[in-house]
C-alpha cells in the first residue's frame, strides 16, 4: 500500500532515536580529545629516530644519509659529526650532529624507514602535530625526533619484536666471533703471555 514504506522508514529512525539512548554501543561517535581509539598497527604518520637506553649516546643513526638521499620529498637534512661512537656491536660508527625533518614537507611515505640499514628511522603514529607557527615549529630537530625503542615496541609490536630479535642474534653472533677470535689469538700466541 502507498505510504507503507514511509511508515517503515519512520519506525526505523525512531528505533535508532530510542536505541541510541538505551544502548550507547550503537553510537558511532568517539568523543575524540577525551576518548581515543587505539591506533591501528599499520598506521604511520612521520618518521622518528630510535635510540637504545640513552637519547644522547644510544641513537642508532650512523649519519649514512641514505634516507636523506632516498627521501622523495627531500625533507631530511643531516650533518655528520666528527666524533664517532660505538654501535650495539661495539663497532665505531659515525653519528649525526644535525638531523632535521621538515614535517610540513614530509608526506609519510615511509621510504626512509624502509631503506635504513641500521633500523634507526621508523614511522611514528603521532598525529596531533599542529603548531601556531608554520616554519620553525614544523622543522623537527634530532632531540624532538629521538624516541626510545620502547616506543617503537609499543606502536609496532610485531615489527619491533622482529627487529629486536634480529639485532640480538647479530649481537650474539658478533660476540661469539669476538670470543672465538680472542680464543684463537690466545692459542696462537701463548708465548706472548709471558712467564708467570
Amino acid at each position: 500500500m502507498n505510504g507503507w514504506g514511509i511508515l517503515r522508514g519512520m519506525a526505523e529512525t525512531m528505533r535508532n532515536f530510542a536505541g541510541s539512548y538505551r544502548d550507547p554501543a550503537r553510537l558511532a561517535t568517539i568523543q575524540y580529545p577525551e576518548v581515543r581509539l587505539p591506533a591501528v598497527e599499520n598506521a604511520r604518520t612521520i618518521p622518528f629516530l630510535v635510540f637504545d637506553d640513552n637519547p644522547a649516546t644510544g641513537l642508532r643513526c650512523t649519519a649514512c644519509t641514505i634516507c636523506e638521499q632516498e627521501c622523495p620529498a627531500q625533507c631530511i637534512y643531516i650533518v655528520k659529526d666528527t666524533a664517532k661512537k660505538p654501535d650495539y656491536l661495539g663497532k665505531m660508527q659515525l653519528q649525526p650532529r644535525v638531523f632535521d625533518i621538515d614535517i610540513s614537507v614530509c608526506m609519510g611515505c615511509g621510504i626512509c624507514a624502509e631503506v635504513c640499514p641500521f633500523d634507526s628511522i621508523q614511522m611514528d603514529q603521532v598525529f596531533e602535530l599542529s603548531a601556531s607557527e608554520r616554519f620553525s615549529s614544523l622543522l623537527l630537530h634530532k632531540a624532538q625526533l629521538a624516541k626510545p625503542n620502547e616506543h617503537f615496541r609499543q606502536i609496532h609490536p610485531e615489527e619491533a619484536a622482529a627487529t629486536d630479535q634480529r639485532r640480538e642474534a647479530e649481537k650474539q653472533k658478533a660476540e661469539a666471533k669476538k670470543a672465538q677470535a680472542a680464543a684463537a689469538a690466545k692459542t696462537a700466541a701463548p708465548v706472548s703471555e709471558g712467564p708467570r
Binding site: 500500500m1 502507498n2 519512520m10 535508532n16 532515536f17 553510537l27 561517535t29
Partner: protein, 396 residues
C-alpha cells in the same frame, strides 16, 4: 485555574495599564509584539540545536554537545559566527534586490503570528478573515525566494528559485484545500472561531478535535505534507538541494543575510505548524476532559513541539524527491485527494443530525471508505510503472 491560564493576558494588561491612558493600546501592542518575537526567536534558537541533536540520534550520532551544558549554547556560537562572517555580494548581483530578499522573507512572516491563538484569549489580533490574512502573508515567501534567486545572477540560484516557485505554488493548492474543510466545519475564517468550533467532548471525554474525524485526519495529513513543502523542509528541500545545486537560491548569501534566510524559513515552519495545530489539533484545547483545568497555552506549546519533532523525524527519514516526482505528487495525488476530502467533509456535515446509537461509527465508515477508496485509486498513479518511461534525448 483561570489565574494561571490567563497569566500572560493579565500580565500584559497590568503592564500596559501602568502607562498613561492615551498610549495604553500602543503599549499593549508593543508588549505583545515583544513577547511573540522573544518566544519565537528563542524557539528558533532551540529548534536549530534540538534538530541537530535529534537528527544525530536518529543517525546513531551524538549531535552537538560541546558548547555549554549538553551543547545548548550552540545557537549562540552559531549566531556569533554568522554575524562576524564577511558579507559577500557578487559583483554582478543586483545589490538592492539581493539585500532586500532576506528581509522580504523574514519581516512579513512575523505578521502571520498575529492571527494565531496561542491560548484562551491569547491572540494578538482576532481577524474575521484571519486565515486569509495568514495565506496572504505567506505569499511573500515566494517573492523573497525568487528575488534571492534572480538578483544573485548565479545559475544555481536561479534554478533553485525556479524550483522554489514551482514547488510553493503547487503545494499552496493542497495546503489551502486541506484548510477549507476546517473552515467549512467552523463556518468562519477566524482562527479563534475555528478553535472554538473544536471545543466540547465526544462520548463525554474525548476532545472534538478535527483530527478525530475522517476528513480531519486526511486533511491533517495533506496539510502536513503541503506545509513541509511550503516551508522547503526535507523531503521537499529541492530549492536548496545541496547535492545538486549547491544551496539553491542561498548560494550567493553569507553572513547575516544567510542567517536571516534561515530565521525566515524556520519562522515560516513555526507559523504553518501553529496553523496546523489551530485547524486540526484543537488549538489550545486539552485532549481529554480530565485535563480541562490545565493551562491552555501549555497545550498549544505541547502540540506545537510535537509537530516540530514530527517534521524533524520526517527529515531524518526521507530522501529528497526529484522535481517531476514532487509535481506529480502534488497535482496527481494531493490536489484530487484534497477535493475528495471536501466531499468527505460535506458528508460528515450532512450526517451530523444522525443521533442513533453507533452513528459515529457509521459516519466514520462512510467518510473513511470514501477517502480510503480514492487514496488507493489515486495512489496507483504514483507507481513508477504507472506511466511510460521517460525518454531522455540529451542525457544518456
Amino acid at each position: 485555574m483561570n489565574g494561571f491560564d490567563q497569566i500572560f493576558v493579565t500580565m500584559a494588561h497590568r503592564l500596559s495599564g501602568a502607562a498613561p491612558a492615551p498610549v495604553q493600546p500602543i503599549m499593549l501592542a508593543a508588549l505583545i509584539i515583544a513577547a511573540l518575537m522573544t518566544a519565537f526567536g528563542s524557539c528558533f534558537a532551540l529548534t536549530t540545536i534540538m534538530e541537530r541533536k535529534i537528527l544525530g540520534r536518529m543517525q546513531n550520532r551524538l549531535g552537538p554537545n560541546r558548547v555549554g551544558p549538553c551543547g545548548l549554547l550552540q545557537p549562540m556560537a552559531d549566531a556569533v559566527k554568522m554575524l562576524i562572517k564577511e558579507d559577500l555580494v557578487p559583483d554582478a548581483a543586483d545589490r538592492t534586490l539581493h539585500a532586500l530578499a532576506p528581509l522580504v522573507l523574514t519581516v512579513p512572516i512575523w505578521l502571520a503570528f498575529a492571527v494565531l491563538p496561542f491560548g484562551r484569549n491569547m491572540v494578538a489580533v482576532n481577524f474575521d478573515a484571519g486565515i486569509l490574512f495568514f495565506f496572504a502573508i505567506g505569499g511573500a515567501s515566494e517573492l523573497a525566494v525568487f528575488m534571492a534567486g534572480w538578483s544573485s545572477q548565479n545559475k544555481y540560484s536561479l534554478i533553485g528559485a525556479m524550483r522554489g516557485i514551482a514547488q510553493m505554488i503547487s503545494y499552496e493548492v493542497p495546503l489551502v484545500l486541506s484548510t477549507v474543510t476546517a473552515l467549512m466545519m467552523a463556518g468562519s475564517l477566524s482562527l479563534v472561531a475555528i478553535v472554538d468550533a473544536q471545543s466540547g467532548y465526544a462520548f463525554g471525554w474525548l476532545a472534538r478535535w478535527h483530527v478525530f474525524t475522517p476528513w480531519g485526519l486526511a486533511g491533517f495529513g495533506l496539510f502536513l505534507i503541503a506545509a513541509a513543502a511550503e516551508s522547503n523542509r526535507s523531503p521537499f528541500d529541492l530549492p536548496e538541494g545541496e547535492s545538486e545545486i549547491i544551496a539553491g537560491y542561498l548560494t550567493e548569501y553569507s553572513g547575516f543575510k544567510y542567517a536571516l534566510f534561515f530565521l525566515g524559513e524556520y519562522l515560516g515552519l513555526f507559523a504553518v505548524t501553529g496553523l496546523g495545530v489551530t485547524l486540526f489539533l484543537g488549538g489550545w484545547q486539552p485532549p481529554v476532559k480530565a485535563l480541562a483545568g490545565t493551562p491552555s497555552w501549555f497545550w498549544f506549546a505541547a502540540k506545537f513541539a510535537a509537530l516540530i519533532f514530527l517534521f524533524i523525524w520526517v527529515r531524518a527519514t526521507l530522501p529528497r524527491l526529484r522535481l517531476d516526482q514532487l509535481l506529480n505528487f502534488s497535482w496527481r495525488f494531493l490536489v484530487p485527494l484534497g477535493l475528495v476530502n471536501l466531499l468527505a467533509a460535506a458528508v460528515w456535515s450532512w450526517t451530523r443530525p444522525w443521533q442513533f446509537p453507533g452513528s459515529m461509527g457509521v459516519r466514520w465508515l462512510i467518510g473513511g471508505s470514501i477517502l480510503a477508496l480514492f487514496y488507493c485509486w489515486l495512489g496507483r498513479g504514483l507507481r513508477p510503472d504507472a506511466r511510460p518511461a521517460r525518454q531522455y534525448h540529451y542525457a544518456a
